[in-house]
Symmetry: C2
Subunit: 280 residues, 2 copies
């Protein structure tokens, strides 16, 4: 029998899709919903609600069910230290927790993973049981990647790679070897909305569909717990920004409901291209 898997559930629909995919892959699932963050829909599955600081209880819930594999999934925002409302299990680990709150997102996640691994849990990525949730290589809809944009894609990828050292920049918009926008804290969809706005204002002037979103993980990003993602809003915002398409790292970007999103991109005239991971 395949081992049980627990989902520590942040916000949004990803935890539900992932849990369903895990069930379809023959796994028994158990969901720990972060109170005030996870969707109430997790109650469709065996579950328990936890405050974000209730590490002690979390560990007990898992151990008592014989669960050793956990998957952290869904948006967390960035919890503020004062939101943690630590339980005793959390307080015991306070020195580590304090350390976690001193850097970028990547740093926070590495800290959280460390806490779980220290207790003997294995952290698994959603790709280990639901590879169909990831971008595949090449064209994902009927609009092939335009060869003329290859240099722009390379330019954008290199720029993202260089930004990795600063623990930021999962995505950018590039057009004609010009970087139109770079994502930091605002998120991909907000960045695309900015591009749409720049265009409406005439701050970025381009005729017809121009430019593309380039998105992929930062180098060194722990994909088990922090996989970049695109969703229906990403496609809608890219269309509003008047882009030609979306290029995402194959196998390294989550696409919830890939077929539907690929189709809706195509309807908006946007290619959806999975680029191969960099050859070193």
């Amino acid at each position: 029998m395949k081992p049980k898997v627990a989902f520590i559930c942040g916000g949004g629909q990803f935890p539900l899709v992932a849990a369903r995919a895990a069930q379809q892959a023959g796994r028994e699932v158990f969901l720990l919903g972060l109170r005030g963050i996870a969707s109430r829909d997790i109650e469709q599955f065996p579950h328990v609600w936890l405050g974000i600081g209730q590490l002690g209880q979390g560990f007990r819930e898992l151990t008592s069910r014989g669960i050793r594999e956990i998957c952290l999934i869904g948006g967390l925002g960035r919890p503020e230290f004062s939101d943690l409302r630590l339980d005793w299990g959390g307080v015991r680990r306070l020195p580590e927790i304090v350390k976690i709150f001193g850097g970028g997102d990547d740093h926070v996640l590495k800290g959280v993973i460390g806490l779980f691994e220290h207790e003997g849990f294995a952290i698994v990525g959603v790709d280990s049981f639901a590879p169909e949730l990831l971008a595949c290589e090449g064209a994902m809809n009927g609009l092939p990647f335009p060869g003329a944009l290859a240099a722009d894609l390379e330019f954008g990828r290199k720029c993202l790679a260089d930004l990795s050292a600063y623990d930021c920049g999962q995505a950018l918009v590039v057009a004609g070897r010009r970087i139109i926008a770079i994502e930091a804290v605002e998120g991909t969809d907000a960045m695309l909305d900015r591009v749409a706005h720049l265009r409406e204002q005439g701050r970025w002037r381009a005729r017809g569909a121009t430019g593309m979103l380039v998105k992929g993980p930062k180098s060194g990003q722990d994909l088990r717990v922090d996989m970049p993602a695109i969703g229906p809003q990403t496609v809608a915002s890219a269309a509003r920004a008047g882009l030609r398409g979306l290029a995402v790292a194959a196998g390294r970007v989550l696409i919830l409901e890939r077929a539907a999103i690929a189709a809706s991109a195509e309807q908006s005239g946007l290619f959806l291209h999975g680029f191969a991971p960099e050859t070193p």
Copy 2:
């Protein structure tokens, strides 16, 4: 007698301030206002209006007055090729002009400079006659740069330096070794407004005054024609974003009305610090 200097005037108040400073430095000035872009206030000075594509007439206006030094100043936006309405002088230079419209901002400016230099004009920066318009080194108001932020400043500067290779990123906001926002096409003030918005939305959560703007030229940026600048709106936006201050490259960032801006920053509790150019 000091040589005459001509200003090719883009938008905003910078051309006026620069022309006044040049007069105070004993220079005879002549302003070429770009039609639809430059402020009507340039008519306070000896001037002529030109369409952006009327290179031929521009060259004649300068030559007939015996002017060899020119200063390109003020915001241009990014002219669209179809806006150029080329005159015969422009048409003759069409091959070069077409080449100019294929890359980043830096590329456009290099091309424009090349056209002028090819005709024998010398391009001078505003710093050559009005150094008082530039950021100086160290504290520019009564709030000294907090030593605890030195690591953040270094982090932000390095990130900007790495982005230089992509002809973008004149400014960013950094807080606690975390990049909150990076400027691309939107401009510094819009980036700061985004940070204010992220904070209001709770997307970036920080207590009290936190983080700083770091701004300086891209490496290789031609400061004669493309000096980064901050103005009253920058200070207002930084205050709204709840930052602790502004750090700008000394001698490489224009501050229109430096004393007034430094004072208004201080009133908003913001330091205004000029950091020394990088030692190679």
